[in-house]
């Protein structure tokens, strides 16, 4: 795959691909980015309005509005550097751990502003869990302790309750049968795919409303990937899932809605198109979406 240089400092004698040619303001360029692809009356878990994010003076995403349907899988696709990860990190306030990071716009979780003054980011993260690109179980903890970690952070002390919820989370993460005989084993002794399912179990054990998945399969082999994809469909019955992926087939397989993001001339990621997955892959409205999903770039 060829990789396009999307930075604004292109040598001027090099012809720009059509899709990148400046056509007035960013608003005209991103006209198809309607924030609400789901039918009227669909319950909304998360609602982001005009979200922008900076790393110091560098703008990473610009004016992205999306409503995320409850108990559905929403995929964010787009080439590297288009701000997908940055965007979902704004949802659980992880973005602010980056040095000189800044967020603008509004993000409502079940109608409540995540960035309102006085909101404890730790509380937001209990409601909006996250699974990372590389499996990252806590190395000093056993399988059980890993899953129980979040519960202990929340202050759950009742042993019976913890062990019930650990078992339930491991079952939901389709890991129980593989680890039930060695629950005391260190979490990092598991295989890569098992570790990632352990991280999913750890995330859902605290029963968040939304689970963010930042390229959860990019470090896994195809078999492990498939297991996690199966898992996601099941999890969507109980949780709202937002997945960032490089892999368009994955988005097509697991998601109900898909958003396509692209870095624009200003160097920041914009929302190009947001529609139901069936729609966007069969009938993209934007030329750039079509180019991307047909593999013409990215």
């Amino acid at each position: 795959m060829t990789h396009l240089n999307l930075s604004p400092v292109r040598p001027s004698d090099e012809p720009l691909p059509d899709m990148l040619r400046e056509t007035g303001g960013a608003s005209a360029e991103f006209a198809h980015a309607a924030p609400r692809p789901m039918p009227e009356g669909t319950p909304i878990a998360l609602s982001a309005h005009n979200v922008g994010a900076w790393y110091g003076s560098k703008k990473a995403i610009s004016g992205i509005s999306m409503e995320i349907a409850k108990n559905a899988v929403t995929a964010l696709i787009g080439p590297s550097g288009c701000g997908k990860s940055t965007y979902i990190r704004c949802f659980n306030r992880m973005h602010e751990f980056a040095p000189h990071a800044r967020v603008e716009g509004t993000i409502l979780l079940e109608g409540a502003d995540v960035y309102a003054p006085g909101v404890d980011p730790a509380r937001v993260r209990q409601r909006v869990g996250m699974v990372f690109q590389k499996p990252n179980p806590f190395p000093t903890m056993s399988v059980v302790e890993n899953v129980a970690a979040g519960l202990r952070f929340m202050g759950v002390r009742n042993r019976a309750e913890i062990s019930d919820r650990v078992e339930e989370a491991l079952k939901l993460a389709a890991l129980w049968d593989e680890v039930k005989s060695d629950l005391k084993k260190p979490g990092i002794a598991l295989s890569g795919g098992q570790q990632q399912r352990l991280c999913i179990a750890r995330t859902i054990a605290v029963e968040p409303e939304v689970v963010l998945m930042d390229e959860p399969c990019s470090a896994l082999d195809p078999v492990a990937t498939l297991k996690i994809e199966d898992l996601m469909r099941g999890l969507a019955e109980r949780y709202t899932i937002i997945i960032v992926t490089h892999n368009m087939q994955q988005a097509a397989r697991v998601s109900d809605y898909t958003a396509f993001l692209l870095m624009a001339g200003d160097g920041a990621g914009h929302l190009v198109e947001y529609r139901s997955t069936a729609d966007i892959f069969t009938n993209p409205h934007d030329k750039r979406t079509e180019d991307y999903i047909t593999g013409r770039f990215g």
């Binding site: 659980n92 992880m94 751990f97 730790a122 509380r123 937001v124 993260r125 209990q126 869990g129 996250m130 990372f132 590389k134 990252n136 179980p137 806590f138 190395p139 000093t140 970690a149 979040g150 202990r152 952070f153 929340m154 260190p186 990092i188 002794a189 991280c199 750890r202 995330t203 605290v206």
Partner: protein, 294 residues
């Protein structure tokens, strides 16, 4: 493969290949030599310690206190126990401060305040140990009007803090960012992340740092000269002057009697032996913990 075939296979790069091989051999040899040179002093120290130290070891050596000067026999029980108390107390005072300092530097010290503290610790690490002894003399001993084991422990604790603080900081910084993020993402506040995730992950490294600090201070005589002073008699009273192994080694090794020299060798052997045993025991206890450096 015959030489003919190989030279065909390598073609024009044959000469380059030979030069690389030769260079590789020379460098490997140089490394091996450096290792041998580094190990020779260690081997010699152990050899002389064992040869000269073992004859001085006896039941009395561990259970008796020193005789009056010039009367052969007696032991160094007071110095062994004294060293244990002084060093143990120094660890109790110094390790919590040092670890807290390391945690501050690594987790909250990416700012001007942190840079300032880091600078202070570097300066502190560079202060000669005898100066630390004089400092405690002025601060504690002169004010109290008498020498004490506690003052000795304070002096050793001051030597311990910069060593352990720096190693703690480095070990905490080695903990991958992904683990901190995993903890934050579960809704853990920062302090809990440090306490429950970062510190346990870095624990084996922090313990190694404490062991290094321990070995360093256990052998110090200079800072104890004006603080714990030394004592001919057995005592466990930390408000009184107390004997210690390094100080008694110093006195005996520079003294006039042959049996003193023999006991000085034996004490040196015991000092090294104790540190070695503690290191091995700690490693056996914590070394098996699973650690990961991603």
């Amino acid at each position: 493969m015959t030489g003919q075939e190989r030279s065909t296979f390598l073609g024009r790069t044959e000469g380059l290949y030979r030069r690389r091989k030769a260079f590789d051999r020379v460098m490997t040899g140089a490394m091996a030599l450096a290792v041998v040179l580094a190990v020779i002093p260690l081997a010699l120290i152990l050899f002389y310690l064992l040869r000269n130290g073992i004859p001085g070891l006896s039941w009395d050596f561990f259970t008796q206190d020193p005789n009056r000067p010039g009367k052969p026999g007696g032991g160094v029980r007071n110095a062994i126990v004294g060293s244990g108390i002084i060093v143990g107390m120094a660890l109790v005072i110094g390790v919590p401060v040092a670890i807290a300092c390391g945690v501050f530097l690594s987790e909250y010290g990416q700012n001007r305040m942190g840079a300032f503290v880091r600078f202070l610790i570097e300066v502190m690490a560079g202060i000669p140990s005898i100066t630390v002894g004089l400092f405690i003399y002025g601060l504690v001993v002169a004010n109290q009007g008498h020498f004490s084991a506690f003052a000795g422990s304070l002096a050793l604790a001051i030597l311990l803090v910069p060593i352990v603080a720096r190693i703690t900081e480095e070990m905490l910084l080695l903990v991958p960012r992904s683990l901190r993020e995993a903890s934050y993402a579960l809704g853990a506040p920062r302090w809990r992340t440090v306490l429950r995730i970062v510190m346990p992950t870095a624990l084996p490294g922090i313990i190694t740092g404490v062991m290094l600090g321990l070995s360093r201070i256990a052998g110090e005589a200079a800072p104890l000269l004006f603080t714990a002073l030394g004592n001919q008699f057995y005592t466990t009273d930390i408000t009184q002057p107390m004997d210690s192994l390094p100080r008694r080694i110093y006195v005996y090794a520079t003294g006039p009697y042959d049996y003193w020299h023999e006991q000085a060798w034996a004490m040196s052997l015991v000092l090294v032996g104790i540190i070695l045993v503690i290191s091995l025991a700690v490693r056996a206890l914590f070394g098996s913990r699973v650690t990961v450096r991603q």
